[in-house]
Assembly symmetry: C3
């Protein structure tokens, strides 16, 4: 049932109805739940845990209307040691998930993403393609991290955060740029960031704020449109 090109380490604990495609590599002491699908070429480190009904290593797809076509030459998905992945989640190829990362249930991470050590991607959170996430970052439940975004180390994002990267909303002929969240900034729940916005180091964006301009370091902004409330 398992293809001879699959390499499996010691002490694999595996559930029922698991599908492992060809050329997959699995490290030592890995736990795989029921109904998990591991697509071809995926690399899984040691002490990784993947819960039920999750699909990892998916190729992107598109339709005629979509501006950006998926690349045909994508690298495998690489999952570092001690990573924990929830149930019913979908992870794409050509992404690197560093050691100690936690990804919740019903989450999705696209291609060409890097997630740094010990970061948390909450349940039902979505991370789009081409996004860099630093170390010890928290992205809470149901947050939306757009494509082409940069999130530096130690950033905290509350639940239901929304971001976008397309100033002209589908007009095309334009370089998309998601927000940039500098080291240690904090974003409240259900805050909205416009394309290309820069949030400075240790700045705080209040819950429900709609951020239309860059926020300077250490400042606090709230409201719609958001304004500084620093003394």
């Amino acid at each position: 049932m398992i293809d001879p090109t699959v390499k499996i380490g010691k002490n694999l604990k595996i559930g029922s109805n698991v599908v492992i495609e060809d050329s997959v590599t699995i490290g030592n002491d890995v736990v795989i739940g029921h109904n998990v699908v591991i697509k071809k070429d995926t690399f899984i480190g040691n002490n990784v845990s993947i819960s039920d009904a999750t699909t990892i290593g998916k190729y992107p797809s598109s339709n005629n209307k979509m501006a950006r076509k998926p690349s045909l030459s994508l690298q495998p998905l690489v999952i570092g040691d001690h990573v924990t992945i929830g149930s019913n989640s979908v992870l794409y190829r050509d992404t690197i998930i560093c050691s100690g990362v936690f990804i919740g249930d019903l989450a999705s991470v696209r291609e060409k993403v890097m997630i740094g050590k010990e970061s948390i991607i909450g349940r039902n959170a979505i991370v789009e393609n081409n996004t860099m996430i630093g170390e010890r970052v928290t992205i809470q439940t149901s947050s939306y991290v757009t494509a082409d975004m940069i999130i530096e180390d130690d950033v905290f994002i509350g639940p239901c955060f929304s971001s976008s990267n397309d100033k002209y909303m589908g007009k095309g002929n334009y370089t998309h740029q998601g927000p940039v969240l500098k080291k240690g900034c904090k974003i409240g729940n259900n805050a909205t960031l416009l394309p290309g916005i820069i949030i400075g180091e240790k700045a705080i964006v209040g819950a429900g704020a709609v951020v239309t301009k860059d926020v300077s370091e250490n400042s606090i902004v709230v409201g719609n449109p958001s304004k500084s409330i620093n003394a």
Copy 2:
């Protein structure tokens, strides 16, 4: 294993653990991923792709508290040619998905919905029942399209859009009406539309706007409550 009432075209590529219920029709050159469930009577056109762990053709259900009970006589789900459906998604019966449509991962589309040609339903987006979506519409990731909504051709909806159709919030004895989005209008990310709001042709609703009144054609509104910023 496959029921004799199932009709399958040429060149089917099918994954492991797929369940195909009775009276399903599948066209030519279809790709079905692992752990997919195709409920009874579903009609799938040619060159359709359905990714892993997706369920299509589901009957609606309810509990005692719900005002609207599901109809007992629902038509089958019909999926046109060249449609692409993501992983871990749920599509209902009595809905028509026209040719070239793209539906992302972790998305859901209810019964009595029509999705026009080449439209895009983003990942984790939800489309409720009784909603009409035109052609070349984009509904981005994690957006919520309420029931009884009309979305005309070429509308663009950014990520995390929210709508509702129930002015009296659960009081009942009232005709529900979702928003109406006229041809070519654009809605920014995390915008909120109240029940029955009409957004005019080519109007623009800013990111994070809360729209409490109709918006006239070609105008631009922002803020909470949203106001026009046209000259």
Copy 3:
């Protein structure tokens, strides 16, 4: 295939590829869809319906960075009579779902939650741990119910609601407290509640409101920050 410690009542209707772990109890007249995973010790009452690809009875997990570690001694998940659970959902251990509750597709309910009789948890809605939900409560699609929250009887929450429980956003050394929603209050779609906010009996929070202070009973608040519009 089924463990001898599993107890099954009369008239079970069960789909393909279902996994039932040890010490599960299933009542009479239960319907279980395809690809469902029922984790160990789960108790399911009579006349329960569970749709395809749902996982129930999951143990919580965590990584090094997470403040709250899952308890090692969790009770089983208990599902009362006449409960309906959708497709592709994830329910945790040590939670009680009372009779007549409806849980939609792609939803998730964490550990140490109580959901009262006939309440509705919408599709793609998330309920975090340690949260009490009363009877006849409606929580609509894609809403986010944070941890340590109290929702009394007959509360109505529109779609895309957002809440949080952590005033210092990840700083730790602090007792988390989610909002408290008193009997019969109504919350509009995409409203944002800050940690510990109390919404009084029969109060109404408008769509898109950002609630930063307690709301008194019977009052109506809108805007960002929200203000009363009572006469």
